[in-house]
């Protein structure tokens, strides 16, 4: 199968300074992407899965020609993102934010019409295309209200409608369901599946592993600017399916305890999510092998200063791939 997106050894470093113009703070160097390579095949829904700051948006921006890579190459629809930027732009639809990117004083329809003109769509085609997209995203009844009255969910959907304006073969959707309620999120997922049915290629980012599993044919797990695993959700999960997983709720958590658990016999990986910094309420996710490991780990937890609240035994998920490979959890505290 032909590749719609091909990324080869792309790196990106940001140099910034803390503070403002007058009181310039120390320099900061952020390595946003380190030698990232992956391929998205034609007609596939591909997910970039990673926690905050992993480099997902940076990847999307480079692929949509908004940001130049420091090194490496990338092609979209066969066109080079730096040397053939115009051709790339003609091939893509991009949704960058969930609730920004609109003129507040224009209606949803007027916003779309403006961008349709900038995409040089012929007037009557633009009109029917906009009608179709508004319907597709359940926005018909709100189409003529000013965007300043829109809810986050409506803006998110309008963003996706805008990305689809020029009916491009390749779509980049950055966190398409972030901040949406379950109904709106389901709607957006349905639309993505519909696009897949039409043969479009979709590259989306998410830090929600359920979404990745649900939507994506293949997933690249990305952490701190590196791709650490690529495969179908099934393939990725098979890396951990032999293991066992528990999630432990604990008050009075400290990092020392986590380090101790990680060193435990039979422990493959462990990571914590702090739920409440004041009381030290945390959720530990522990991937391990063998019953002896469980006994050891529970022993450590019980003899620690922390107070054990609950222990759940779980089926391994994509998150456990992440936990074992990075020692961190995927999702920020909600």
């Amino acid at each position: 199968m032909a590749s719609s997106v091909l990324v080869e050894n792309v790196s990106k470093v940001f140099h910034t300074r803390e503070g403002g113009l007058l009181f310039r703070g120390k320099k900061r160097v952020v390595e946003a992407l380190k030698n990232v390579s992956f391929e998205v095949r034609e007609g596939e829904v591909f997910g970039l899965l990673g926690p905050n700051g992993a480099g997902k948006t940076t990847t999307i921006k480079i692929l949509s020609t908004l940001l130049l890579p420091d090194s490496g190459d990338a092609w979209v629809n066969g066109y080079h993102v730096v040397k053939e930027a115009n051709k790339v732009r003609e091939s893509i639809g991009v949704s960058l934010y969930s609730d920004r990117g609109f003129y507040w004083k224009l209606s949803g329809r007027e916003n779309l019409m403006y961008f349709a003109r900038l995409y040089h769509l012929e007037r009557s085609y633009a009109k029917s295309r906009i009608d179709y997209l508004l319907k597709l995203l359940d926005l018909e009844s709100d189409a003529d209200r000013l965007v300043e009255e829109y809810s986050t969910g409506m803006k998110s959907k309008l963003n996706i409608a805008r990305a689809l304006l020029q009916d491009p073969p390749v779509l980049f959707l950055d966190e398409p369901t972030i901040g949406l309620d379950p109904t709106a999120a389901r709607k957006v997922r349905e639309v993505i599946m519909e696009l897949r049915g039409e043969g479009k290629t979709v590259l989306l980012t998410t830090h929600n592993m359920y979404e990745a599993e649900l939507l994506c044919d293949r997933v690249a797990i990305i952490s701190k600017g590196r791709v650490i695993a690529i495969g179908t959700p099934g393939e990725l999960k098979s890396k951990v399916s032999e293991h066992k997983v528990i999630e432990v709720e604990l008050a009075g958590f400290d990092e020392g305890l986590l380090e101790m658990v990680k060193q435990g016999r039979g422990v493959i990986g462990a990571a914590a999510r702090i739920r409440d910094p004041v009381s030290g309420l945390a959720e530990l996710r522990i991937v391990y092998d063998g019953d002896f490991a469980l006994k050891d780990v529970l022993g450590m937890l019980l003899s620690s200063r922390g107070r054990l609240i609950s222990v759940k035994s779980l089926e391994p998920t994509l998150e456990d791939v992440f936990v074992t490979m990075t020692g961190e959890r995927l999702e920020a505290p909600s």
Binding site: F14, H15, G20, L21, T58, K61, S64, T65, L66, L67, L68, N86, R89, E90, I92, V94, L96, Y97, R100, G101, F102, Y103, W104, K105, L106, E110, M113, Y114, F115, A116, R117, L118, Y119, H120, L121, E122, R123, S124, Y125, S128, L146, R162
Partner: protein, 279 residues
């Protein structure tokens, strides 16, 4: 069904003009200020003039400007000043504004030359000001008891456009130099005040020393305001028109080229540093 238009650049221009007009019509307060401020300022300056000059105010004014009606002179000057300030601030501010609402980088995803797109925004504002200028000019001319013929109107519009459009180039220079610090408006205000001072909107430039008058020669609005007042007030001894218009056209090209150079440089850097998306 046909999908793409035959004249893509025209489609973009129309899109920008419609968008800007709609948005402006929904911020009605700004429009009211734009239309009425020149009158308020005229009243203010006429008041100051009488206070300083007393009975002789009108005569002195005529001797210095060659125009009998201070209202006409000041209102036309004021309208042009509003237009020039608005253009500089808009051309630079629009980039900041669109960054804030998140529409800025979306323009970079469309198959357009972005500098041209920002210039189209300046054209949209200019069209608005042509309307405002026509309204204000008709009114003060009518009050002064005369009329302009169609040829004169055409000339007036051409001069207004040639005077204010190049300032968009200046706006782009300001934007390119200051967008990084997120305080575009501060610099834009300083620049537009200097332009206003050197344009002689409210006084003839002869009040300045020779050196300042020379600098004013490269400010397009100084020519515009001088020509307009002469045409509208039907003054004899007009400056050689063709020569002036050529000079203004040359200045316009220069200003816009300057804008393009600075903005393109910023854009290249912004693409590398990730500045396009910052807000």
């Amino acid at each position: 069904m046909k999908r793409l238009v035959k004249y893509p650049v025209l489609a973009s221009l129309i899109g920008v003009i419609i968008k800007e007009m709609k948005i402006m019509s929904r911020y009605i307060g700004t429009l009211v200020i734009v239309i009425s401020l020149p009158y308020m300022l005229s009243g203010f300056f006429i008041g100051v003039g009488y206070t300083v000059g007393g009975e002789a105010a009108n005569r002195n004014f005529y001797m210095n400007t060659g125009v009998e009606s201070p209202l006409l002179y000041l209102t036309l000057g004021g309208t042009l000043m509003m237009a020039s300030m608005f253009l500089i601030e808009n051309a630079s501010g629009i980039i900041r504004e669109e960054q804030l609402i998140g529409t800025f980088e979306l323009h970079y995803l469309t198959p357009n030359n972005t500098i041209l797109l920002w210039f189209f925004h300046a054209i949209a504002s200019s069209l608005l000001f042509l309307g405002v200028f026509a309204a204000n000019a008709s009114l003060v001319i009518a009050v002064a008891g005369s009329l302009l013929n169609p040829y004169e109107w055409l000339l007036v519009f051409a001069i207004v456009l040639l005077g204010i459009l190049p300032l968009a180039g200046l706006g782009l220079v300001v934007a390119a130099l200051t967008v990084r610090f997120k305080e575009v408006w501060a610099v834009a205000n300083i620049v537009s005040s200097f332009i206003a001072m050197l344009s002689g909107f409210y006084y003839p430039l002869e009040v300045f020393p020779r050196a300042v008058q020379l600098i004013a020669q490269v400010v397009p609005t100084s020519h515009a305001s001088e020509l307009l007042k002469k045409i509208v007030s039907g003054m004899p001894g007009q400056p050689p028109l063709a020569e002036r218009l050529t000079l203004m056209a040359a200045l316009a090209l220069g200003y816009l080229a300057l804008g393009k150079v600075f903005y393109s440089r910023w854009e290249d850097e912004a693409r590398r540093k990730g500045e396009l998306s910052k807000y």
